[in-house]
């Protein structure tokens, strides 16, 4: 009888963990659909990039030091979010929250640079309504920036939850998903860096 009870408890624990793993799989599927969203925006950009209507072209408005800094900041934050999950698997709450703070600070720096980049463009007359190229550019890069901003708010919420509940099966799963999300945003940025910025200044 006792054996049956412990067996049952064990089963219950497994079910709980299995359920959390299923949620991580669900999040992977969300990321794939988000890829498709970005694919439509990339396709639009690639088709419209030459339609500048006499307005500024990429070469004139993209600042190399700016987008290179954005690239390395986001890449580093992807790395530090990985270090956060490593700390989590070691049961190190302080390390986990510390690396999340570093990641969020880098994310904030990225968003700050992007906002100043956009503001400079608008000041030079390169607004979203100037040409089809700029409409596609601001929509594509802006959608990525919006994703990073949402990720920042989510990350702050998770830090509060970690402070309150510590590392549990549930908070573990939440950190796993936000870390996947953050790596995904860096992956999208690799293609923005290549297709928009590098090909733009070519």
């Amino acid at each position: 009888m006792e054996h049956a009870v412990t067996h049952h408890a064990h089963d219950h624990h497994d079910h709980h963990e299995e359920h959390e793993q299923l949620k991580v799989l669900g999040f992977w599927i969300f990321l794939v659909t988000d890829c498709i969203l970005f694919a439509t925006l990339f396709a639009t950009y690639v088709v419209l990039r030459t339609h500048t209507d006499g307005g500024p072209i990429g070469k004139e408005i993209f600042e190399v030091p700016g987008f290179v800094a954005e690239t390395f900041i986001l890449l580093t934050s992807s790395f530090t979010s990985g270090l956060a999950t490593l700390a989590m698997h070691k049961g190190n709450v302080k390390g986990l929250i510390g690396w999340l703070i570093v990641t969020a600070a880098l994310g904030l720096g990225f968003i700050g640079l992007e906002i100043s980049e956009f503001a400079n463009m608008v000041q030079e007359g390169a607004t979203i309504s100037r040409s089809a190229f700029l409409s596609a550019f601001f929509t594509l890069v802006g959608t990525h920036g919006l994703h990073v901003s949402v990720g920042l708010l989510w990350m702050i919420g998770l830090m509060v939850q970690l402070g309150r509940y510590g590392i549990t099966t549930v908070t573990k799963r939440k950190i796993t998903t936000i870390s996947l999300y953050w790596h995904f945003l860096d992956v999208v940025w690799i293609f923005l860096f290549t297709v928009v910025y590098l090909m733009g200044v070519m």
Binding site: T33, V64, F79, L86
Partner: protein, 98 residues
């Protein structure tokens, strides 16, 4: 927590990070120094973007880990097929416009 579940190591993350830095700097130098003809340049930087994508999948997102059927990999492959179809299809069909 089952011990056969791996979550990467500091080493794996550092390797992924260093490879990503290299794969960012090479295309940057190629473009800024006009080192190749346009067609080859586009090919080279796209290739390095795809390589960096794979490196992040392996070293950061641990795509090779986990037990049981890899439904996440299957979803990802389907996603890549759709992404490729949308982007390449749009470029192809719109090439008849000019």
């Amino acid at each position: 927590m089952s011990q056969h579940e791996a979550h990467g190591s500091v080493k794996a993350y550092v390797i992924g990070f260093l490879l990503s830095i290299v794969l960012t700097i090479i295309p940057l130098l190629l473009v800024l120094n006009h080192m190749l003809s346009k067609g080859w340049l586009v090919f080279a930087i796209m290739l390095m973007a795809v390589l960096q994508f794979i490196i992040q999948l392996v070293f950061f997102m641990h795509i090779r880990e986990g037990e049981g059927p890899k439904y996440n990999v299957m979803a990802l492959i389907l996603g890549i097929v759709i992404v490729f179809t949308i982007v390449a299809g749009s470029m192809w069909i719109m090439s008849f416009n000019g």
